[in-house]
Symmetry: C2
Subunit: 345 residues, 2 copies
C-alpha cells in the first residue's frame, strides 16, 4: 500500500559520518546516500569506497549512492542531514525545494534529523532552527547525536546513539529504523539539549587537546572535561535544554569520546595548538572540518547574550584567536576557579 511509510532513509552528505551512517543503516532497509558533486558520486559508485573521508570501509552494494537530491529524498520518511554546520542552511534549502514537489509517504511530512554538531557560523543558531527556517511545515525536525566516531560505526563496532525529537511517535519510528545489532538508538525529547551538547563538546575537546599537546597529563584533562561539562550544561540550560540531557550519551558520552579518540578532529587541532603550531597552519592541513573552532566564537556570543560564564571557551578563544600562551592561560584558569564545587543551577 503506497500510504504505508516504507523503511527508506535518505542520508544527505557523503563525508565520513554520512558514509558511515549509510553503511550501518543499509543493514536495516532501503538506504540512499546523497553526495555533493557528480565526480565523488561516480567514484563511490564505481569503487564502493569513500577514498576521501572513510577510506577503509567498504560500502554495501545496497546503498543507493546519488548526486540527485530528489532521487535520494523521494519516499523517505526519514532524512538525516549529515553535512557540516556551515553547509546546513544551503543544503536544507535544496531538500526543502525537493519536498515541495514530492509528497511524503502516507501524506505525512518526513522526519528530518540534523547530524551536524555545530552552530550556524553566520547566525549562531542551532541546527534545528536552521532546519525549521528552511523546511517550515514540510518536515518534522530533530537531531541525531551521540558518542559516534564515524570510523567505528563504519567498521560495525558497537555504538549507542540518540534520536532527538519532541514528537515521541516519530522519534520511536526513527529509533526502530536506526537500531541494529551494532548501532543502538535511544530517544530523547530534548532537542535543544542534545544539540547544545553536540556543539559545545567540540570546544571542550579543543581545550582537552591543548592540554594533551602541552603534556599536562590525565589528571588535568579530567579536570578540564569535568568543568567543561558543567560549562556546557550551564549554557544548554540557559538556552532551554534539560540538565539531565547533558549527563547522557549526547552530552557526557560524546564529550568523553571526542576528548579521547585519536580520530577526533577537534582534539587533534587542540593537540597541535598545545604543541606550538598555529591555527592557520593546522586548518590548512585538514581535509575535514573541525567544528569546534567556529563553535567557540558562537558559544561566547551566546554566553554574552544569556549571561552565562564560559571560562574554558574564553580560554580556548584567547589561545586560538588572540595568540595567548597556553601555559599561562591554563594557569590563570586554574587560579580563577571557585573554592567549592558548585551546582549547575
Amino acid at each position: 500500500v503506497s500510504d504505508t511509510p516504507g523503511d527508506k532513509v535518505a542520508i544527505i552528505g557523503g563525508g565520513s559520518w554520512g558514509t558511515a551512517l549509510a553503511c550501518a543503516l543499509a543493514r536495516g532497509g532501503e538506504t540512499a546516500l546523497w553526495v555533493r558533486g557528480a565526480e565523488q558520486a561516480e567514484t563511490m559508485l564505481r569503487t564502493r569506497h569513500n577514498p576521501r573521508y572513510l577510506e577503509e570501509v567498504e560500502l554495501p552494494q545496497s546503498i543507493l549512492i546519488t548526486g540527485d537530491l530528489g532521487l535520494a529524498v523521494v519516499d523517505a520518511p526519514l532524512i538525516i542531514m549529515a553535512v557540516p554546520a556551515r553547509g546546513m542552511a544551503v543544503t536544507t534549502r535544496g531538500v526543502s525545494a525537493v519536498l515541495r514537489s514530492v509528497r511524503g509517504p502516507g501524506g505525512r511530512p518526513p522526519l528530518v534529523l540534523s547530524a551536524a554538531k555545530g552552530l550556524d557560523p553566520e547566525t549562531g543558531r542551532l541546527m534545528s532552527e536552521v532546519l525549521r527556517d528552511a523546511l517550515g511545515d514540510r518536515a518534522v525536525i530533530g537531531a541525531l547525536s551521540g558518542p559516534n566516531i564515524a570510523l567505528e560505526v563504519g567498521r560495525g563496532l558497537p555504538t549507542a546513539t540518540v534520536v532527538a525529537c519532541n514528537e515521541g511517535m516519530r522519534a520511536e519510528e526513527a529509533q526502530r529504523r536506526v537500531s541494529g545489532t551494532r548501532l543502538r538508538a535511544y530517544t530523547n525529547n530534548d532537542v535543544t539539549g542534545v544539540e547544545v551538547g553536540g556543539a559545545l563538546k567540540n570546544v571542550i575537546a579543543l581545550a582537552a587537546g591543548i592540554s594533551d599537546g602541552m603534556g599536562a597529563g590525565d589528571n588535568a584533562k579530567a579536570a578540564i572535561m569535568t568543568r567543561g561539562l558543567a560549562e556546557m550544561t550551564r549554557l544548554g540550560v540557559a538556552l532551554g535544554g534539560r540538565q539531565s540531557t547533558f549527563s547522557g550519551l549526547t552530552g557526557l558520552g560524546d564529550l568523553i569520546v571526542t576528548c579521547s579518540s585519536p580520530h577526533s578532529r577537534n582534539r587533534a587541532i587542540g593537540i597541535g595548538i598545545g604543541s606550538g603550531k598555529s591555527l592557520v597552519e593546522l586548518e590548512g592541513s585538514m581535509t575535514m572540518v573541525a567544528e569546534g573552532v567556529n563553535t567557540t566564537r558562537e558559544a561566547l556570543r551566546l554566553g554574552l547574550k544569556h549571561r552565562v560564564e564560559l571560562p574554558i571557551a574564553e580560554a580556548v578563544a584567547a589561545v586560538l584567536f588572540r595568540g595567548a600562551d597556553p601555559i599561562s592561560t591554563a594557569a590563570s584558569l586554574m587560579a580563577r576557579s571557585g573554592k567549592a564545587e558548585i551546582d549547575f543551577a
Copy 2:
C-alpha cells in the same frame, strides 16, 4: 604559641598515592609520611625514593619518613589515611590509640581524611564509617578524592582534588594546606557522595577496561562510562549522597581518568580480562591493589539492600567471578537497555 594549629600534615601509608601526596604537600609545610615496615622506611630514608610504588619520583628532603605512628601523627591538625580499603580499619585503630595519648594542637581534634577509594571488604561500609568507628570523637572525619593519578601528582603535573568534610571551616583549612601551584583543592560537604564516587568508579573502570581489552572501540567505552556514571549516581543518591557531587571532580572527573589512564590498575585488570586472561592470573601479577574487584561484590550487596539496579556492576561480576563470556555479556547488556534516556531520579 602552642595553641595555634601548625601546618603539619601526617600522611599514613607509603604506597604510590601516599608517597605522591607527601611530595606535593611537602611544598606547603611540615609533612610526615608513615610507612609500614621498618625496612621500607629505612630504604626510603636512605634513597629518597619509593622503589616499590613510585620509583621515578625523588622525595623532598623535608619529608619526615617514619615507621612510628606516634611521631607521624603528633601535632598534626590534618591526617590523611592513604592505605587500601582493606587495611583502613586496622591502621585507623592504630592512629586512634596514638591520639588517645597525644592531644591535638590547640586542643582540637585533628581532621582525618580517608584517601582510599573502596569499601570495607568485611562489612561493605564506607571508609568514613570505618574511620568514625575507630576514632569516635577523637577526630573530625572526611575524605580526599578526585581525578588523581599518583604518578602525575608526584611529578608535579597540574591536578585538581577535593577535600570533603561536613564541617566547612575544617574543610577550608585543609583546602588551604593541600593547595599549591600544581595541586588545587576544592571543598565539598557531601562526604558520602564523594566516597561512593571514588569507590564505584573502579567498578566502571573494570567494565571500560574489559571493553578496551575486547577491542570494542571508543564509542562503546563512552557509552559504558555514561551509563556507568548514571549507575554510580543512583547508588550514591540511595545511600544519601548528592546527585551533583557525581557530576563533579570526585565522580565524573575520577571516572574519566580511571577509565583512560594507562596507570589505572582497575582498567588494567579489565583489559586483561577482556583479552582472555583470568582474574587469578592477573591479580597474582600485581604488586598493587585493584580496589574495584572487591568493590564490585560490595556494591552489588548495597544495591540489593537499597533496591538499586546496577546492570554494569552485575555484568562485571558475571565476567570476573562466574566466568561469563565478555562478548555475550556485553551483547545482553546492550539488548537490556531501556528505550529512552532517563533521569537518575
